[in-house]
Assembly symmetry: C2
Homo-oligomer: 156 residues x 2
DNA sequence: CCTTAAGTTGATAATGAGTCTCATTCCTGC
DNA sequence: GCAGGAATGAGACTCATTATCAACTTAAGG
């Protein structure tokens, strides 16, 4: 479901529904779902992997840098896009979890690339339990967790 | 062991041994363990929580900003200190896991504070298993994992 | 339609965390 | 002691990201 570029016929339906959902979310916050924002989202969906801003602009040169940054920020605020701080020069962006599903990342400490991975749901359940217990004990109110694996990717 | 400021008598032994270990690591890479670097380490140890560079300089105004950055970088390269990218303006620094033990973080998305937490070792074992399996399948060579909880701290 | 208000865009300027430079100072082994 | 390498600190610099602002687009009323 995740991690694959989308192009087929049923994926057009997926895109249409996604756009509808996102349009709703933006409207709730008094924002418009303009063509530039749609292209931003489609670029992320079609790539199927987290992208940096230079990645995005390169893949879609029509998007002005300043607008891309501004729109990514708005989409992040609206919960449509998630910003990933991998430690390199640039932040990475991908669809937010409500749209893409809960998952984690393989982060290469050599080349900085990021790949999505999915965990066994049993493990997720156990981790969630632990986290909830810790939250209850410390008065911390969790919204999400991130479990990322750092190392060297197959190419490095 | 972690998360508590250190001041007591047996903690002086801990510090002495720590300094010895770190000195060895630095020497291996042809670096000296100067007083500025020792103070950097002690500030982190005594605080017992991840700190940003402004935190460190405020706690120890003798340290010049440029030297602090340079020395943190060297200590990170030598595996003595770990850099945490929490997403805020500043990176956080803490003792590396070989010195502080494996642990995770509560990251407040309001005020940006970071607190150390420890997991049940059984959970850690299961997570490690999953991660190893994923690594084997994808050709990824892991060095470490990060499991952080994002949300609002008790004060926010 | 016309108007108006609000949202958006893109070029550009500004911000600021982190890095680099370099002259000076400090160590350390000989 | 002293020569050579390492470290320091002040300041200049880089560059990802944000803010600014005038021009443009859109949506809703009247």
């Amino acid at each position: 479901m995740t991690g694959q570029p989308r192009q087929g016929a049923e994926d057009r339906d997926f895109l249409a529904e996604l756009h509808a959902q996102i349009g709703g979310r933006l409207a709730q916050q008094g924002h418009r779902y303009t063509s530039g924002r749609q292209e931003l989202v489609e670029t992320l969906v079609l790539t199927g992997q987290p992208m940096t801003l230079p990645d995005i602009v390169e893949a879609h040169p029509k998007l002005a840098q300043s607008s891309a940054y501004r729109n990514l920020d708005i989409l992040v605020r609206c919960g449509v896009i998630r910003r990933i701080n991998a430690g390199g020069d640039h932040a990475y962006f991908e669809l937010a979890e409500p749209l893409l599903g809960h998952h984690h990342h393989l982060i290469c400490i050599s080349c900085g690339s990021i790949e999505d991975i999915h965990f066994d749901s049993e493990i997720e359940r156990l981790v969630d339990e632990s986290l909830n217990e810790i939250s209850a004990r410390t008065g911390f109110t969790p919204t999400t967790h991130s479990l990322d694996l750092h190392g060297h990717c197959a190419d490095c």
